[in-house]
């Protein structure tokens, strides 16, 4: 990126602007001083009660001096230099940046009410409830508001966790015990574990033991190893920090658990844990440069941008946006589908079903793998599910 040359060009603007305004002040001062000199001369004449002929000569002299100063030319010169610097900077700006990012915009109905619901939802899920309320009031779109109460509950749980109060989190997890289990989440056990360690470090071994009996024992059959470690902690009650289990006390457990709680809470609501609006916009920032280049290329080839069903080239966005497995057959260079699924050959290489059909002349003969010397027959190939 040419940001350094842009900064240099803008430094020129700064310099020229400063000298231009200094010049303007200077020019005004010069005129003032000429006029004041003329006034002084005339006043001296008045006291000397000289004739008015000299008086006009003073004015004529002033006029001549002002002409000689040519203040407007001086101003103009400076302003010109400033304008040159400004237009050079502007030119560089237009060259280094994409001047029209709306070039790749499709003129389709992009419904404001849908966008407004998404924005309202975004504010609520980020926990900025007053902004959400204010937005809903102004746009008159109350669709996004139904999640407000749920997110309020989530943030009150998270706030309590920040002051090391696990009670709201525990009762939420207990209430959603079955669903969490279904998601394969150990959140409830982890919360109890944290509470147990908290009780233990605050001093009372008996209390901790009692807590373990009521709350940890139900998990014992499924998570034997974890529970055993926790029980061993009881032996180190007053010096857990010097024990092999000191790691249990790390405050990162709290942060991680808050993250997991957010994730599970959103998941049970049918929501993602990252703001979908944020995700879509970040993907847009990464994808738009390629789309802009593509529109330019396609316009040059007189290809249709507005109606195309699939982009002709891939867009390079980060791996964090990859939510689906896409298999592209390396032989046919086509995305796999239900009709043309990926197939594993005995050698371990994967191609699409259609490729295997072609290579084996419709399963009639053995064929060589396109990627290694081994041979296969179509019936040995196995369909893959990613």
């Amino acid at each position: 990126m040419e940001l350094d040359s842009l900064r240099e060009a803008f430094d020129r603007v700064i310099e020229k602007r400063a000298s231009s305004s200094a010049k303007a002040q200077e020019v005004i001062d010069q005129i003032v001083s000429e006029v004041e000199q003329a006034i002084t001369k005339m006043q001296m004449m008045n006291t000397d009660s000289m004739g008015s002929a000299d008086h006009s000569s003073v004015l004529a002299e002033l006029k001549a001096k002002l002409n000689e100063l040519a203040p407007l030319n001086q101003l103009e010169g400076c302003q010109k230099e400033l304008n040159v610097a400004l237009s050079k900077y502007l030119k560089l700006l237009e060259k280094s940046f994409s001047p029209d990012i709306s070039k790749a915009y499709r003129n389709v109905d992009f419904e404001a009410s849908t966008i407004n619901s998404i924005i309202a939802n975004h504010f609520y899920r980020q926990g900025v409830f007053d902004l959400g309320d204010s937005f809903v009031r102004e746009c008159g779109e109350s669709d996004g508001a139904h999640l407000k109460l749920q997110f309020q509950e989530m943030y009150s749980i998270l706030e309590a966790m920040q002051v090391r109060n696990l009670q709201p989190a525990l009762s939420w997890a207990a209430k959603n015990h079955d669903q969490l289990l279904q998601n394969g989440s150990m959140l409830e056990l982890k919360l109890h574990q944290l509470q147990f360690v908290e009780i233990l470090t605050k001093g009372s071994r008996d209390e901790a033991l009692k807590y373990a009996r009521t709350h940890l024992v139900p998990f014992a059959s499924l998570h034997k190893a974890e529970i055993q470690k926790l029980m061993a902690c009881l032996l180190w009650a007053d010096r857990l920090d010097q024990s092999p289990y000191a790691e249990f006390m790390s405050s990162t457990h709290w942060e991680k658990l808050a993250e997991e709680l957010t994730h599970q809470f959103c998941s049970l609501l049918g929501q993602s844990s990252e703001s979908p609006l944020g995700v879509a916009v970040s993907a847009g920032f990464q994808g738009l440069p390629t789309l802009l280049k593509l529109t330019t290329v396609m316009a040059a080839k007189k290809q249709e941008w507005q109606a195309m069903k699939q982009l002709p080239v891939p867009i390079d966005i980060g791996p964090e946006f990859q939510y689906h497995s896409v298999f592209v057959c390396p032989v046919l260079r086509e995305q796999s589908s239900d009709e043309n699924p990926p197939m594993l050959m005995p050698c371990g290489h994967v191609v699409s079903k259609q490729s295997i059909m072609k290579l084996s002349k419709s399963s009639s003969r053995p064929f060589k793998c396109p990627y290694c010397p081994s041979e296969a027959v179509a019936s040995q190939c196995k369909q893959l599910h990613f």
């Binding site: 305004s21 006043q43 237009e94 029209d100 982009l311 689906h324 589908s337």
Partner: protein
């Protein structure tokens, strides 16, 4: 290819991932034309106004001074004429002082605008490095403010700008004039796009994310396109395209590549090595396919080579 899989080399791939992130960040910064152009247009307009003012006033003073010189006998003779001439010149001096004061105000405005242009340039320089998390957050808020101003949701726009330290980009004292710019639909004049930035970036993002799999029943919730609102917006947009396979582990949601190669169950279901390794360790070498419930030994799994 098999060689590459057998000898995993995490460092080059990790650094290439970082390089990719940086390239993408630098490319994204190129989209911020409006961010630099809008304050530049404001600066140019202030400079122009100040210059015109100086020009007009000085020209007026000059012509007034020469008119006085041309008047016969400096005012028709007599003491009163002389006094009138002095008065006249004195009024020119005070007019010039007035101009000077106005110019000083104009210069202050120019200086503020210069600072703003400069601050934004500096901000973009740090943003193009690729690890400016604060920038990403600010970016979304900025786009939302832009959207709300265009939709005339002024209260929320002001609140959001206030609470998010976005003033670096929308200074408080510039707020009213900014609102006016939007109100008067001067967008093009000030180097702004006609569509809200939010719409532009959402369309680009949804196009990049849109695959046929998004409309499956089991589209993961993390994909914005699993939600009805986003699906509706994406409907008229084209699908993205892939030239190379990109496989995501069903269990860990991580990319399956040479460092984390895909393993195949006898039933044809595929998961990442990382996920199945961990599962085998916990369950005495047995692994369970989460989608079919089939159980087998870790040693029965075979590696798939995806090019």
């Amino acid at each position: 290819m098999e060689m590459a899989i057998d000898t995993p080399s995490p460092s080059p791939s990790a650094s290439s991932a970082a390089a990719g992130r940086q390239t993408r960040a630098a490319e994204s910064v190129r989209l911020e034309h409006q961010l630099l152009r809008v304050p530049l247009e404001a600066l140019k307009s202030t400079v122009r106004t100040n210059h015109r003012l100086a020009e007009k006033e000085i020209a007026a003073v000059l012509s007034s001074a020469s008119a006085a010189a041309a008047a016969p006998g400096g005012g028709g003779g007599g003491g009163s004429g002389e006094a009138a001439a002095v008065d006249h010149l004195t009024s020119l001096v005070s007019r010039l002082h007035g101009l000077k004061r106005k110019m000083e105000e104009g210069v202050r405005a120019e200086e503020l605008q210069v600072q703003r242009c400069r601050a934004r340039l500096n901000r973009l320089a740090s943003a193009s490095s690729g690890d400016d998390a604060e920038w990403e957050e600010l970016r979304l808020k900025r786009i939302l403010v832009d959207y709300m101003l265009r939709m005339s949701y002024y209260d929320t726009a002001a609140k959001l700008a206030e609470t998010s330290g976005i003033q670096v980009l929308f200074e408080q004292n510039q707020w009213d004039s900014l609102v006016d710019q939007f109100k008067q639909e001067f967008c093009k004049l000030y180097g702004m796009t006609l569509e809200p930035l939010l719409n532009i970036y959402m369309q680009a993002g949804l196009t990049a994310l849109k695959t046929p799999f998004c409309f499956d029943g089991n589209c993961p919730k993390e994909d914005p396109l699993s939600l009805p609102g986003f699906r509706k917006l994406a409907e008229p947009l084209p699908f993205s395209k892939q030239h190379h396979s990109k496989l995501v582990c069903y269990i860990t949601k991580e990319l399956m590549d040479t460092e984390n190669p895909p393993l195949v169950f006898p039933n044809g279901y595929v998961y990442s090595t990382k996920a199945l390794d961990e599962m085998a360790k916990k369950n005495g070498g047995k692994v369970t396919c989460p989608r079919t419930g089939d159980v087998c030994n870790y040693t029965d799994l075979v590696k798939a080579y995806i090019s």
